[in-house]
């Protein structure tokens, strides 16, 4: 019974946030968007211009594949700090003093996250079921067509995801930006592996397994179809051809591989329980870094503080001390990192100026991932360190916001200094301007998202994804550094919009039109 109560309260806590409600609404909305009508002009699944008739088998299989793309990363970023949250809310010490074992606490967190993820997935699937009836191509609902993929495909990978959310939270060094980048890499690798080598036991997402069977079904009607299928947004002209697909054939080898992944999830739970420190290192983890404790020599004279009456007077500056504020912001942003961080930054700046790269400049652009954690903190630092009230009673929020923005740009330009020199030496003025537009866009996005969302995860998740699809893969419109195509005007306009939105929100908070707490 205590175990059930523990799960119940874990679930209640996690589902009462506005972020969960936002994801819930998004899940339902995406469920509707992912089943486009014959004349809607787009498809979200490409298979040589054909698709299956919207029956339970086809839509059930799609409902199992799509959460990999739509839910995995947002779900991870939503749930990845449940243990840290207990620490931040200062209830970790209370929990540590209860008889709950480390394994039970961790498994409770994992199971709670799993239930949250599954509730999102089930709601998405329910929306797809409703869409089957709305589209009306086949009115008979075959529950097995939806439930079997949910059970054999979604449950194992959601268990792994839930276990990863907690593992990354308790594993030293994974709690910050590095962990966010790593999970993105893991997701990209597993997705690529899933589509490229279908049917292997290492295929967590099983997308290739499903796509292969869909292609086999499609070829019985359209033999000349290409040997490829993928998910994405594809424009369609005219009516799309359809075929009847009877569903996924499950084999014992595949089902055994699912057990393997459930085993991996359980292993991650045990490993997390071993790594979990039972809230011993409160300061270290709350502040992301350990600081040497300062010991005081207790030699205070009783007169000590009463000297305060004889303190020197202080003068006020004529106007706003913006340079002083920017200096303070830069100190907060750049001090306290490890020697390796400074060394890496210096080496990367130098290398980015002079190294020649066969693959093009996109790999050199990766240096702009180094200050990601610095930028992501800018908009939510006051909340993280509980300095909001002190700042609100001292200074205008808008001025403070502007100082943070300027410092973010200065850091961006410092990181870019090698690239700027490189463009200059090559006489590439257009490239230089496009890069600077990107270098101004990134901290503007970070500051605005941090201010609006109150956390760093929103920017880190989006930035990693944008970086991967834009500068690295050159997806049209997303290359904010202008390495493959110059989007200077687009990103200057976006920057202007972001700064205007962020600044307006600060001004509204200042006038108490928006609540700050």
């Amino acid at each position: 019974m205590p175990a059930i109560a523990h799960q119940k309260y874990n679930l209640i806590r996690q589902t009462r946030g506005y972020r969960f409600l936002g994801l819930l609404a998004a899940a339902v909305f995406l469920g509707f968007l992912c089943v486009p009508g014959a004349t809607d002009g787009y498809e979200i699944f490409y298979m040589g211009g054909v698709r299956g008739i919207y029956n339970s088998a086809w839509l059930g299989a799609m409902a199992a594949c799509l959460p990999v793309i739509l839910l995995w990363l947002p779900g991870f970023y939503l749930l990845r700090s449940q243990v840290s949250e207990d620490r931040r809310l200062k209830i970790g010490q209370i929990i540590a003093a209860t008889p709950i074992s480390r394994l039970r606490y961790i498994s409770g967190k994992v199971f709670g996250n799993f239930l949250v993820l599954m509730s999102l997935d089930i709601l998405f699937t329910a929306a797809v079921v409703v869409m089957q009836l709305i589209r009306g191509e086949v009115m008979r609902i075959n529950l097995a067509g939806y439930l079997e993929p949910l059970l054999f495909i979604t449950v194992p990978h959601m268990m792994v995801l839930a276990a990863l959310t907690v593992f990354f939270d308790v594993m030293p060094g994974m709690g910050g930006a590095f962990g966010n980048i790593l999970i993105f890499m893991i997701w990209v690798s597993l997705t690529t592996l899933s589509v490229a080598i279908p049917g292997n036991a290492m295929d967590l997402f099983s997308m290739g397994f499903i796509l292969d069977q869909m292609l086999v079904g499609a070829r019985t009607v359209f033999p000349s179809l290409p040997d490829a299928a993928s998910f994405g947004y594809y424009k369609v002209q005219g009516n799309i051809s359809t075929f009847h697909w009877s569903g996924i054939s499950w084999d014992t080898g595949f089902l055994a591989s699912r057990l393997l992944w459930i085993g991996v999830a359980l292993l991650l739970v045990v490993l997390s329980a071993v790594l979990f420190d039972r809230f011993r290192s409160t300061r270290k983890l709350k502040e992301g870094k350990s600081y040497r404790l300062v010991k005081e020599a207790k030699s205070h004279t009783s007169a000590g503080m009463s000297r305060a009456g004889r303190l020197s007077p202080v003068k006020h500056a004529a106007g706003i001390n913006l340079p002083g504020l920017v200096r303070g912001e830069l100190i907060i942003a750049l001090s306290g990192h490890s020697a390796w961080w400074y060394l890496s930054v210096f080496a990367c700046i130098v290398l980015s100026a002079f190294t020649t790269s066969g693959e093009g400049e996109k790999w050199i652009a990766l240096i702009m991932l180094l200050p990601m954690a610095v930028w992501s903190q800018m908009g939510c630092r006051e909340k993280q360190y509980s300095t909001t009230d002190m700042i609100l009673s001292s200074c205008s929020l808008s001025v403070k916001w502007m100082a943070a923005w300027i410092s973010g740009i200065l850091i961006s330009l410092l990181m870019s200094s090698g690239m700027i020199l490189r463009f200059y030496l090559h006489g590439n003025a257009a490239g230089l301007i496009a890069w600077i537009a990107g270098a101004v866009f990134v901290p503007s996005l970070a500051l605005t998202l941090g201010s609006l969302c109150g956390n760093r995860k929103a920017f880190e998740g989006l930035y990693i994804a944008l970086f991967y699809f834009g500068p690295i893969n050159g997806m049209p419109g997303l290359d904010f550094f202008g390495l493959v195509e110059h989007n200077t005007m687009l990103y200057l306009m976006l920057t202007t919009a972001l700064v205007a939105a962020g600044y307006t929100v600060q001004a509204m908070k200042e006038k108490r039109i928006l609540l700050t707490h």
Partner: protein, 289 residues
């Protein structure tokens, strides 16, 4: 009055945190007393321009602070009840950053920062990261930032939390030494802190003003209403249900309790001289009864 609270009400949704409160503050230390949820922190946050009243006005030297908060912020020092610091800054950097926020001339601020660190016994740790500071040291950094701009209005919310007894006494001395020409509002649960430094007390309960008094007047009101008596251990719960009990000590002959009541609680109860804590309990229990 330097600072006036005029019919101020603060609502959060349907909950009223402060209900039509009016009073004023002059130079010197004024203690703000009241149980949890009385509205003390809400009032202090509004005076500190962190929040705005739902209705009513707060004026500093006759000017409405919500119309021009920047003007008040220049002469305001505020130590919130729950605050943090940036762990990767040393105290000098942090105070210089706060000085920039408060719009201070950096050269004169540097001198004052040095003096404040000396006064608050933080000089030896001036180059150490705040992340390694103990709770008491962080509290002193908070006090330093509140005093940085030589404030005419100083608001300190539970300032002695985290300080050891010696530091608490020193902090009280500090407030006394600077209280001559400025308004200091001190909110605390530690009644002895107020007793030793605050000549004026404002009492709040349930978002309403209970009264404005002095420690002597408050104690005078409780005269004849504090009792010492001994009761069997199994009667303690019953006594606590009937009367406010300010202390209970288990001894061999029973439980020695101190009761605050107009009526004599037991036949063997003896009248005792009230402390400020008894008087506070008497005032709040009388109102709630």
């Amino acid at each position: 009055m330097m600072l006036s609270i005029n019919q101020v009400t603060k609502k959060y949704g349907s909950k009223t945190a402060l209900d039509n409160v009016s009073f004023g503050f002059d130079c010197g230390v004024t203690g703000l007393l009241g149980p949890n949820g009385a509205g003390k922190s809400t009032l202090m946050r509004m005076i500190a321009t962190v929040e705005k009243p739902s209705s009513g006005t707060i004026t500093w030297k006759g000017a409405d602070i919500s119309k021009n908060p920047k003007q008040l912020r220049r002469i305001l020092g505020y130590l919130p009840q729950d605050f943090g610091v940036y762990p990767n800054m040393n105290p000098v950097e942090f105070l210089e950053y706060m000085a920039a926020m408060k719009g201070l001339n950096l050269r004169s601020a540097k001198k004052r920062i040095d003096e404040l660190l000396e006064t608050l016994h933080l000089s030896e740790a001036r180059k150490r990261m705040l992340g390694g500071f103990s709770g008491g040291m962080r509290q002193r950094v908070g006090i330093a930032q509140a005093l940085l701009n030589d404030p005419e209005l100083l608001i300190v919310d539970e300032p002695t939390v985290g300080l050891d007894p010696e530091e608490r006494i020193q902090f009280r001395n500090l407030l006394s030494s600077i209280s001559g020409n400025r308004v200091i509002i001190l909110s605390t649960h530690i009644v002895s802190d107020i007793e030793s430094i605050a000549p004026g007390i404002v009492m709040l309960s349930d978002g309403r003003l209970l009264g404005r008094t002095t420690p002597e007047q408050l104690i005078g009101q409780a005269e004849g209403s504090v009792w010492n008596c001994v009761v069997p251990a199994d009667k303690l719960g019953e006594m606590q249900g009937r009367f406010p009990v300010s202390s209970a000590v288990q001894k061999t002959d029973g439980v020695h309790i101190r009761v605050v009541s107009v009526k004599q609680p037991t036949l063997n109860a003896e009248n005792a001289a009230p402390s400020l804590e008894d008087a506070y309990l008497f005032a709040t229990s009388e109102r709630s009864a």
